[in-house]
């Protein structure tokens, strides 16, 4: 086992680009030059509308994008000093579910319908501890099921996924992901498919596990409320680009990028009454017709000709708060704070 040095981040993604090759002529750019870090025990939220490259970014970490079509033209994903884009499939299998785990959006379809919960969790244990005795593995699994606060672990062990609710299944997924005590847990919209009360329970459970296990978390969502509750830091993505990044409170209080501002403005707050909520005009363009330059330029009220040329350099708004927007240059000293 590799020990993380105390000073370096647990995960460092540098300049990651992800392309999808659709046919011989068409290459779609799903993610462009995204960089971010996740420190030990830290929770990073990735925020954005559907189709912004959030999931693709996360899937890249464990190389779970469709292997046949995905190309990684540039970038590095450094985890515990190893570049995950350049390790062998065997090494990657050793990291998946062991050092880095992942849970997904749709709990109802994420479990294999033909095996019991117990069998699937046992598989996860035995994949990474091949020598473990069956009884010991079973003990571990029962413990894990109990730790996600499911009553009667013994009964759940022999239950098939079709007999469980979405909330229960997501707990089982979390139990499975946490079995090997991973250093990093990637959650791709884990609560989007759940109803609000169950969502709150699952979030609370994840926060609890995070405290207990000191696991770092990457939390992908389009829900600002969830980010606010979960994330120490937040990265806002649009059109495969990072537009803004910083501490959650700082970004939410002083959003600098027009897209972040739009997102926050369109989120209802408790003291917001009366008038219609503002919206960002238009919708996320498909990968096929993503605008040149800043991908947000066709929906942005501040867009100039410059925005259609290149993507701007990231500017430091305050300490550990970055945003990439040409409008920030004009605002100069103000640092985009309005």
């Amino acid at each position: 086992m590799t020990n993380t040095t105390d000073n370096g981040p647990l995960l460092e993604v540098r300049n990651l680009s992800v392309d999808f090759r659709i046919d011989r002529k068409t290459i779609l750019h799903a993610v462009r030059e995204v960089s971010f870090t996740v420190g030990s025990g830290e929770t990073l939220g990735i925020l954005g509308e559907s189709g912004c490259g959030k999931s693709v970014t996360c899937m890249s970490i464990l190389q779970l994008n469709p292997a046949r079509t995905t190309i990684y033209p540039a970038g590095e994903i450094l985890f515990e000093g190893k570049d995950l884009l350049r390790i062998s499939p065997k090494e990657m299998q050793h990291i998946r579910g062991n050092r880095v785990s992942m849970i997904f959006q749709e709990p109802m379809t994420a479990m294999n319908p033909l095996y019991t919960i117990g069998t699937q969790l046992m598989e996860a244990v035995r994949l990474h501890r091949p020598g473990i005795a069956k009884a010991e593995a079973r003990e571990l699994v029962l413990e894990a099921i109990a730790s996600v606060r499911i009553p009667n672990p013994d009964r759940i062990f022999d239950t098939y996924p079709f007999a469980l609710s979405g909330g229960m299944l997501q707990r089982c997924m979390i139990a499975m992901a946490m079995l090997a005590r991973p250093k990093l847990l990637i959650c791709d919209e884990p609560t989007t498919a759940l109803d609000v009360t169950i969502q709150a329970q699952v979030l609370e459970l994840m926060n609890e596990l995070k405290e207990k296990e000191k696991t770092s978390i990457i939390f992908v969502t389009h829900d600002l409320g969830v980010i606010n509750e979960m994330a120490d830091r937040v990265m806002v993505m649009y059109g495969g680009r990072k537009c803004e990044e910083g501490e959650t409170a700082e970004v939410f209080l002083h959003p600098a990028h027009p897209y972040t501002k739009g997102l926050i403005a369109s989120h209802p707050s408790p003291d917001y009454t009366g008038r219609r909520l503002p919206t960002i005009p238009g919708g996320v363009p498909s990968l096929k017709d993503m605008p040149k330059g800043c991908p947000f330029n066709n929906r942005c009220s501040l867009a100039t000709e410059k925005c259609a040329g290149t993507f701007p350099e990231y500017r430091e708004i305050s300490e550990d708060h970055l945003a990439g927007c040409f409008a920030l240059e004009q605002q100069g000293e103000n640092h985009g704070r309005v």
Binding site: P89, F104, N112, F162
Partner: protein
């Protein structure tokens, strides 16, 4: 589950009875009679009537039906043409069909399923495209053409395999078996490919990868088991069909199997033979259906839960 299977087996009795009844009615109510089909066209009507009476194709329908049932239970039904016991004839012919069908079909199943998995795992690769082209080709060419081409090449040109009959031992089985196998593979491999592909696109496959399964484990333990229900359906119905005798293959290679037997009986309006063969085929098919249900329940817990 056991109770359900017993119920299914008991249901077979009335179903088989219905099959006999329907075939009996079709055979007896359609125009024509054994004598006209077998004897020369110039034969006098009185001779024909005498012939029909001698084989039992006279009298009220109900009585004829009862006579057939009596013969069935006593294990002694005479063929109109040979005047031999049909069960004796079946005992010679069925094993031939069984041998050719079983070997041919098992080969087709093994090769077809393997190629289908390969195609799915390497989707859109050169291997997949090549297999698709070959499968579409052999799937579109009728089996009798493949068989005839085989005869031309191996019997006429090269002279290494007999063109008909079963007198050359194992050699005489090679071409019929190959014809069955080759005509079976395309359907099986295409079906396997598409069910494997839809299984491989499911979320639980991503979960399996995310927890650290090797690609081999993902394919064999997670995808194939989920893809197997439609494959089993195809294999069992196909196998039941093959046991009914491949008429084309038996005709081309002059194999005295059950398919040819039934075809000849139909031409001769040999009612008891057609009925007995149809009964046997229906029985085989029903057994295959029960087996299918058992397999389904073994594989899918959701189906199993329904039978409890």
């Amino acid at each position: 589950m056991g109770k359900y299977i017993i119920k299914r087996i008991l249901y077979m009795i009335p179903m088989l009875f219905c099959v006999i009844l329907v075939i009996f009615l079709i055979m007896n109510l359609t125009p024509g009679d054994p004598a006209s089909n077998i004897l020369p066209i110039t034969t006098q009507q009185s001779v024909k009537d005498a012939y029909n009476a001698s084989v039992g194709y006279t009298g009220p329908l109900g009585l004829r039906f009862l006579n057939y049932l009596k013969g069935l239970f006593s294990g002694n039904i005479l063929s109109y043409t040979t005047r031999e016991n049909i069960f004796g004839e079946l005992a010679i012919r069925f094993p031939i069909t069984l041998r050719v069908g079983l070997i041919g079909f098992l080969l087709a199943a093994i090769i077809g399923v393997s190629l289908g998995i390969l195609s799915a795992v390497k989707q859109y690769s050169f291997v997949d495209t090549a297999l698709t082209v070959v499968a579409v080709f052999f799937g579109s060419v009728p089996a009798f053409l493949i068989a005839t081409a085989g005869v031309l090449l191996f019997s006429v040109r090269l002279g290494v395999l007999p063109s008909f009959g079963l007198n050359a031992g194992i050699k005489s089985y090679i071409m019929p078996v190959a014809a069955l196998t080759i005509s079976g593979i395309p359907v099986i491999s295409r079906m396997t490919r598409s069910s494997m592909l839809s299984a491989l696109n499911q979320d639980y496959i991503r979960t399996a990868r995310a927890k650290g399964c090797s690609e081999r484990r993902v394919i064999w333990n997670h995808a194939l088991k989920n893809a197997s229900l439609p494959i089993i359906t195809l294999l069992l119905t196909g196998f039941a069909g093959v046991l009914g005798g491949s008429v084309i293959v038996e005709q081309i290679f002059s194999l005295p199997g059950i398919g040819l037997y039934m075809l000849q009986a139909m031409n001769a309006k040999n009612v008891p033979v057609v009925m007995t063969c149809a009964l046997l085929l229906a029985f085989i098919f029903m057994v295959a259906m029960v087996l299918m249900d058992i397999f389904f329940a073994l594989i899918d817990p959701k189906i199993r839960a329904r039978y409890k």
